[in-house]
């Protein structure tokens, strides 16, 4: 127990003085996710806000041929720019970026419209540009709505019930709660949390094993009258400590970032306050020893810093696998899935984000499973450290 503490204290202090460890544990790991995420989400939100709040901007040519349509568009809040363009000019205007979408009403429009024939309208848009595509979609929807209004009026005038043309009435019922909708956006956040958690211990796991071997202090250490399990245990404990700090920083950063992301503006609440952050911390805590032991075990087999780095980078990807599965098969929180580390943490965190109730039993099973795997990995690590091949 004493050995454990001595090794822990030394590794903790030594790495506190190491710029590389500090950068990855306390800066890059915890902040990378939240910042990237904040930017990503606010950009996505800005784009979807455009849809409902910003008026539809259109350039319309030949509006005198379709006064009804022009009136309808204005009534729907569209901002129209009237101009006279030929077909080629309209094409050039859209290509050149002068106007994003151009509606061109040909001369024969009014004749055909009055004759109740399909009246042509040309819609110029660049489908390769995602902004323009959105405006074009909105324009298309407005035109379709206009079309069906006119169709219904024509039927009524001819004494036919417009309902005949509506054999099916589809009513969509969206059951997503405001927070539930946000989860689609926030789904990947859990990975960033687990990533930050692992990053926090990455360099310490390498430094205390492969690093110790590379700088030639390992053999002297192994010649001391102490139990190897206690030695490696102390190292893992120090790794855990850095991972906890990294996790805490990462969650704090997320809380801060979501203060500034305008989720409410589109009727979502991120549900990520201090309380949620604390729950997340508790959910992730059992994953810390698992990650620390896994990284230490893998690094113990390597001879150099560089080699360890190579292998551990793939270890960083391990927690993504279950999360990727979860999104492919759209898995929901289920008690049977609580036995799978990283997946269980992901599902529980997602549930919390969605404001769904989580069972204490699930949390406990998730924790027990992670700690169980950690214990198993620790036994393997300690056994490896007792081997002669550890000397390298």
């Amino acid at each position: 127990m004493r050995t454990l503490f001595i090794v822990f204290a030394k590794e903790f202090l030594e790495n506190l003085r190491d710029r590389r460890t500090l950068l990855s544990a306390l800066l890059f790991g915890p902040l990378f996710g939240p910042i990237l995420f904040g930017l990503m989400v606010s950009r996505m939100l800005e784009q979807s806000v455009v849809e409902s709040d910003v008026p539809l901007k259109l350039t319309i040519s030949g509006s005198q041929h379709a006064p009804g349509l022009t009136q309808y568009l204005k009534a729907r809040g569209a901002k129209l720019t009237l101009s006279e363009l030929s077909e080629n000019e309209a094409r050039a205007a859209v290509r050149g970026g002068g106007s994003q979408v151009v509606l061109l009403v040909p001369e024969e429009y009014s004749r055909l419209f009055t004759a109740a024939q399909p009246a042509p309208i040309l819609l110029f848009a660049d489908s390769a540009d995602s902004q323009t595509r959105k405006i074009a979609d909105r324009t298309r929807r407005v035109l379709a709505a206009y079309g069906s209004t006119i169709a219904q009026l024509r039927l009524q005038m001819r004494g036919v019930s417009p309902l005949l043309s509506q054999p099916v009435a589809v009513n969509e019922v969206d059951v997503a709660t405001p927070t539930g909708r946000a989860v689609v956006v926030l789904g990947f956040m859990t990975y960033f949390v687990l990533f930050a958690l692992l990053m926090g211990g990455l360099y310490l796991a390498i430094d205390s094993t492969a690093g110790e071997r590379e700088r030639g202090s390992l053999e002297a250490l192994l010649s001391l009258p102490v139990a190897r399990a206690a030695l490696v245990g102390g190292k893992i404990l120090a790794t855990c400590a850095y991972m906890c700090i990294s996790l805490a920083l990462s969650l704090t950063a997320f809380v801060c970032v979501f203060r500034f992301v305008p989720l409410e503006r589109i009727g979502m609440s991120a549900n990520l306050g201090l309380r949620t952050a604390l729950i997340f911390f508790a959910i992730c805590l059992p994953f810390v020893p698992l990650g620390a032991t896994l990284m230490t075990l893998v690094a113990s087999f390597t001879r150099t810093y560089r080699e360890a780095q190579t292998y551990l980078t793939s270890v960083l990807l391990v927690p993504t696998l279950p999360i990727a599965f979860a999104s492919i098969y759209s898995l929901k929180t289920r008690s049977s899935l609580m036995f799978i580390p990283s997946l269980s943490q992901h599902l529980l965190m997602t549930s919390v984000l969605k404001d769904e109730p989580i069972l204490l039993r699930d949390v406990l099973v998730s924790a027990a499973a992670s700690l169980g795997v950690a214990l198993l990995l620790f036994v393997l690590t300690a056994r490896h450290w007792r081997r002669e091949t550890m000397l390298g």
Partner: protein
């Protein structure tokens, strides 16, 4: 006192040590002499218990290193072949880390570190971080680290390797001082002048076997050679002819 009793060890098809027996006595410096790959490190590693011998046993002050590892190691200071320091720790912290792992109290550690710092001339850099230490400074800290628990026996694996002239000279003085304190010093080397200049007894190892075990003078006399170098070659040649 360090005793090797019929130690043998094989790695796959290579027999790194065959029936190695010798005794390193208190108040003497014993040199383990042999060419590169002769099995010196393997023998030493079995003596300080990081390798398990396939046969035979090793005792430190009569305590079996395999049977009572911790107790035996309390009597043993080790300076392995690779004796790196923790660069982000100060010289003092490096030494105290090992001391505390030996179970020393903080108070005892303080006085012992002061003692060693004075004896090894480390006062000038004891509070500095090991990053940027010269070879001479490094070997001093590594030796202090090995001696922090005041062991009666010291094992050094090729301690002069890679050191410059000044550092070698320093080390030599330190080893003689240890001998003067009545400790048992055992070190390995492939440099004969070093062994001849320092050792009371020489154990010559070749091909994993003990080829000779005697005082420097005895070896010289027995082979009729004027220098240890010639004697060493003579011993190697003799055994090659015999076997």
């Amino acid at each position: 006192m360090i005793e090797a009793m019929a130690l043998s060890k094989r790695f796959g098809s290579i027999e790194a040590a065959k029936d190695v027996s010798f005794v390193a006595r208190d108040g003497e410096i014993t040199g383990l002499l042999g060419a590169n790959g002769a099995g010196k490190s393997t023998c030493l590693r079995m003596l300080y218990g990081v390798l398990t011998p396939d046969g035979g046993k090793a005792c430190i002050d009569g305590i079996d290193i395999r049977g009572e590892t911790s107790k035996a190691r309390a009597h043993l200071g080790v300076l392995p072949h690779a004796a790196g320091l923790y660069n982000n720790l100060t010289a003092r912290e490096n030494i105290q880390y090992f001391g505390s792992l030996h179970g020393m109290t903080a108070e005892r550690l303080r006085s012992r570190t002061a003692e060693l710092s004075l004896a090894l001339g480390m006062d000038g850099f004891i509070e500095r971080r090991a990053k940027g230490f010269s070879q001479g400074q490094r070997i001093k800290v590594a030796l202090a680290r090995a001696l922090v628990h005041d062991p009666g026996n010291v094992v050094l694996d090729e301690p002069t390797n890679g050191l410059d002239v000044m550092a070698i000279r320093n080390l030599r003085e330190m080893l003689l001082a240890l001998k003067g304190q009545g400790r048992c010093v055992l070190f390995s080397s492939h440099v004969m002048q070093e062994v001849a200049a320092l050792c009371d007894r020489v154990v010559i190892i070749g091909g994993g076997k003990v080829l000779a075990d005697a005082t420097v003078r005895e070896i010289r006399e027995r082979s009729g050679a004027a220098t240890l170098e010639e004697a060493f070659l003579q011993v190697l040649w003799d055994t090659e002819v015999v076997s």
